[in-house]
């Protein structure tokens, strides 16, 4: 990475200002002209990893209110028996297949926020996911996602193309917007593909020269980002990665995503925000109790998070993992031994800065009188209060009202997920 090229980018940006190009382009061009190279040395930059449980996870079987007899009365066939839950505090317990997370709970790096969700009443996956990613429940016209808005408003960290990375083939709505972010399906395949390494490097160089000399405007700055990212990643050598401390990631998409996130963190490329999807939570039919469909998904989640924590070791002190899901599921089991779309759910926070070892948020209870619309677990924590707290107290975000427009953040409503 030569100095002269950085100068070229910067002066290129300045020249374009004088040409009177439009402000949106300039926003991106400004993003693209980096500060000095991110060092390939350990950094203590705080990192947030978001996992979206798409399909609406059954919060009541993930973090079981085993102290409530109503839970057992409403779910005769799918309740997790009190004798089998991993007890947390005498009232709540983890699903037995999340047992891998118990040590993290015990050392206070895992917390639960229960009865969290959206103030919007929709039970449509589509709408609710949309709202949770745009960060503006009820407003459909929001074009960008709240993670991207955070990047737009906190410019301190925009010195690397790896600042915000989504693991998957497409950029999710939560990261859509004017701040640059990467969608990476597979770290090892990021960059140009050719049968042999020499051919790949040559092709990369050829395209780099094509763009450096012939591209204009946004194509120029973005290609610059791209080749810089490729080069940085090559130094980190993702193909050689071995997890530390014998961490054993579960097979499947989630395990692969988490391992790649750990890889990027340890490569010190300046990652600040990572995002991955975890699917398979829409358990309308045969959801199972201690065993079964949901149990299998939870086992993968638990093993994945535990392996991630183990792999990161000391580095977990700067990392917070936050799970989210568009809504919860009905308190009462349905006719198909499953659950239908409900309202509030539970979210997990894990990592060094977490105020762990406790179930946070006000528990509304399962009593019919306190249910939402008479049937579902009521929301007592607006998801924006949880997300806002993590942004403010972990990442140091200063202007939450810009990240969540139309919402007045109030630290007194923060659930207390991050140690003060």
């Amino acid at each position: 990475m030569s100095v002269s090229r950085r100068v070229f980018v910067k002066s290129g940006g300045l020249a374009l200002v004088s040409l009177g190009l439009d402000p949106l382009f300039l926003a991106r061009a400004a993003f693209a002209s980096y500060h000095p190279l991110p060092p390939l040395a350990a950094s203590d930059r705080p990192i947030l990893v978001c996992l979206f449980q798409r399909g609406a996870v059954d919060g009541l079987n993930m973090v079981v209110p085993h102290g409530e007899s109503l839970y057992y009365r409403e779910r005769p066939r799918i309740a997790v028996p009190a004798s089998e839950v991993v007890d947390l505090d005498g009232h709540f317990g983890l699903h037995p297949r999340l047992a891998a997370l118990k040590p993290l709970w015990d050392n206070k790096s895992l917390g639960v926020i229960h009865a969290v969700g959206s103030p919007d009443s929709t039970r449509s996956h589509f709408d609710a996911q949309d709202y949770m990613e745009s960060g503006t429940p009820g407003a459909k016209s929001t074009t960008d996602g709240w993670l991207n808005r955070y990047c737009q408003h906190d410019r301190e960290h925009d010195d690397t193309p790896f600042r915000a990375v989504a693991f998957g083939p497409q950029l999710p709505r939560i990261l859509a917007g004017s701040a640059p972010s990467l969608a990476i399906d597979d770290l090892q395949a990021f960059g140009l593909r050719a049968p042999q390494e020499a051919a790949r490097d040559r092709l990369t160089r050829a395209f780099e020269e094509l763009y450096a000399g012939s591209a204009t405007g946004l194509l120029s700055s973005s290609s610059q980002e791209a080749f810089e990212a490729v080069q940085l990643l090559q130094q980190a050598n993702p193909a050689q990665y071995r997890p530390d401390h014998d961490a054993d990631y579960p097979r499947g998409r989630l395990g692969r995503s988490l391992q790649q996130i750990a890889q990027l963190i340890k490569a010190n490329l300046g990652l600040q925000l990572a995002f991955a999807d975890v699917t398979g939570w829409d358990t309308h039919v045969n959801q199972g109790a201690s065993e079964g469909q949901l149990a299998a998904r939870l086992a993968e989640l638990g093993q994945g998070l535990a392996a991630f924590a183990q792999d990161l070791g000391e580095r977990l002190r700067d990392v917070v993992v936050l799970t989210m899901s568009e809504f919860g599921r009905t308190i009462r089991e349905n006719g198909n031994i499953g659950t239908d779309h409900g309202h509030a759910t539970a979210m997990l926070v894990m990592g060094g800065p977490v105020n762990g070892g406790r179930v946070l948020g006000r528990w509304p209870g399962l009593d019919p009188a306190s249910r939402f619309e008479g049937r579902d677990l009521a929301v007592t924590t607006d998801f924006r209060d949880l997300f806002g707290e993590v942004l403010a107290r972990h990442l140091g975000a200063t202007d939450l009202s810009a990240v969540f427009p139309g919402f007045t953040p109030d630290p007194t409503r923060f659930p207390g997920a991050i140690r003060g």
């Binding site: 593909r193 020269e209 763009y211 290609s223 469909q293």
Partner: protein, 554 residues
């Protein structure tokens, strides 16, 4: 008579004007870049020879263009032989299969997760997936092969303007007929007709929730009768053929159905109708206007979306009170007719003309549409009472379309990039969804933009580092004949030759229309320097050009 004279004058005038600035060759290239999905080999010269304005006029009357090849290819897509009802039955059978599989899966977990996804599940599930893939691939095939290029461009514009997310519940059943029967036949017709057809389309009514927007306190007749014939509201649950015979049970079922009943108006469609489809976000409406529009459209619903039902007006759900929208009074006592009146009113308002014209200029001329272009379009809209064909004609004949600062000023969307690359190498896409998947991987999954605003028409949305690298990979693979789902004919672009200069000249002429920069020429020359195999050399040169910066622009 006067109008005819004006038109006759206009049809000559721009040709004269543009010839002062652009050669026939360059204007043909520009027209093919913007009003088509890029030139096929030899097409720039053909259009230039016949006169670019003549080509545009023919493109504006697509019905008169012989399009047998594309039609024959489209006919091999099975999705076109399924109506919404067929699709609904197929998906119901598929989800029944899946349910059975899950029940078995509880005993014998994850058996078929080892199979490739396309082969997972039973016969109906596989068919459902295949047809869903065909819906997307059909877009790519028509864009690549149709001779009615401007028509396909306009279809894409309206699909985006009236965006529906394919992945929302019943919409995967309803979208195919929405495309084929609602939007395509009206893509160059009157805007008001398009607006009304979209408003009546089950796909849009479902997507924007209007189908369950009801006057507060209203109740379907079925729920007031002792027995219900069918479960009225779409949900994921199994189709329940009626209430129980047993009175106590029937009562509880009826109570549950009542709890699920929509209780009042849903403003979702009303708001997007004003904000996105007609007036625009600054179009001068208020929240109260949104509410009044929603009231007018109560009862615009769907027979049974889960079964792929058609449009149905529910008079029991309609609000028959008086409403006022944008100061216009809609007297009490009217039913569906006042909705049609409202849509016609919206289609004729200056804010709508301006908003939609601006989007058209943004699509066809520049991300930042020139005022003059918008003015020309609005004037044509007024003159022709919203005839889209005439609005497009005005934009294309206006000076802005041909202005030097607008040539090559737009970055291609992923769809435009993939299709123009396929066309540039004389490619022939197959009916598998693989090319559509490439478009998706580059960031534009077709019919899967979740928000109602549709894909943006601005370069910031498409140009990012990951997507750019992917474009380069796609280009190299396509040129090498390794991109799955398409066969290429590089011989139609350039001969496989060991003469680097000849090769570069042919690729420049055939793919970039002669716009290759000196830097690009130099880089390719360097790369060809030690290429021994002429076939590989040609693939490399074509790949670098398709993946390079010039080809990303139009």
């Amino acid at each position: 008579m006067l109008a005819a004279l004006v038109l006759a004058f206009q049809s000559v005038c721009p040709t004269v004007r543009l010839s002062a600035q652009l050669s026939p060759h360059d204007s043909a290239l520009h027209a093919l870049d913007r009003l088509a999905y890029g030139p096929r080999p030899g097409e720039v010269d053909a259009v230039a020879a016949g006169g670019v304005m003549n080509w545009i006029d023919r493109q504006l009357s697509p019905d008169q263009l012989d399009d047998r090849l594309a039609a024959e290819r489209a006919a091999t897509f099975r999705i076109l032989r399924y109506d919404s009802g067929d699709l609904a039955r197929l998906y119901a059978a598929a989800s029944e299969e899946r349910r059975e599989r899950q029940q078995q899966g509880a005993r014998q977990p994850a058996m078929d997760s080892l199979a490739p996804p396309a082969q997972q599940g039973g016969k109906e599930e596989q068919m459902g997936r295949r047809l869903a893939g065909e819906v997307e691939q059909l877009v790519v095939v028509r864009a690549a092969l149709s001779r009615r290029q401007l028509y396909e461009v306009m279809v894409d514009f309206w699909v985006n303007h009236f965006n529906v997310f394919f992945g929302k519940g019943a919409d995967r059943v309803l979208v195919p007929s929405y495309i084929e029967e609602t939007l395509r036949p009206r893509a160059l017709g009157k805007f008001a007709d398009l607006l009304i057809a979209a408003a009546r389309s089950p796909a849009l009514l479902f997507y924007l929730d209007n189908w369950q927007s009801v006057a507060p306190g209203s109740m379907p007749p079925a729920l007031t009768r002792p027995r219900l014939q069918a479960r009225p509201w779409f949900s994921r649950g199994r189709y329940v053929p009626g209430f129980s015979q047993e009175p106590a049970r029937a009562d509880s079922q009826r109570r549950r159905a009542l709890e699920r009943m929509p209780k009042g108006i849903n403003e979702n469609y009303a708001r997007e109708l004003l904000e996105l489809h007609t007036l625009g976000v600054d179009g001068g409406y208020t929240q109260q206007d949104v509410i009044e529009v929603a009231r007018i459209l109560t009862g615009w619903s769907i027979k049974r979306p889960q079964q792929g039902g058609g449009f149905e007006f529910h008079d029991w759900a309609h609000d028959y009170g008086e409403k006022t929208v944008l100061g216009v009074r809609f007297p009490a006592g009217h039913g569906m007719d006042e909705g049609v009146r409202l849509l016609k009113l919206l289609a004729s308002l200056p804010a709508t003309m301006h908003h939609v014209s601006r989007k058209l200029c943004q699509r066809l001329v520049n991300d930042e549409p020139p005022d003059g272009c918008v003015d020309d379009a609005v004037a044509a809209w007024k003159r022709s009472s919203g005839d889209i064909r005439e609005v497009v004609r005005a934009i294309v004949r206006g000076p802005d379309f041909w202005a030097p600062q607008n040539i090559g000023a737009k970055v291609k969307t992923p769809l435009e990039f993939v299709v123009s690359a396929v066309r540039a190498v004389g490619g022939d896409p197959d009916t598998t969804p693989r090319l559509a998947q490439v478009v998706a991987r580059l960031g534009q999954p077709l019919y899967r933009h979740v928000a109602p605003d549709g894909y943006p028409e601005r370069e910031e949305a498409w140009v990012n580092s990951g997507a750019l690298l992917d474009r380069m990979n796609v280009a190299v693979a396509l040129a090498a004949g390794r991109l799955p789902g398409v066969t290429v004919a590089l011989d139609s672009v350039a001969p496989a030759t060991g003469d680097a200069e000849q090769l570069i000249a042919a690729v420049n002429d055939g793919i970039l229309g002669g716009t290759m920069s000196d830097n690009t020429r130099r880089v390719i020359r360097d790369e060809l320097a030690d290429a021994r195999d002429p076939v590989a050399a040609r693939a490399l040169a074509v790949g670098l050009v398709l993946g390079g910066p010039e080809f990303q622009r139009q």
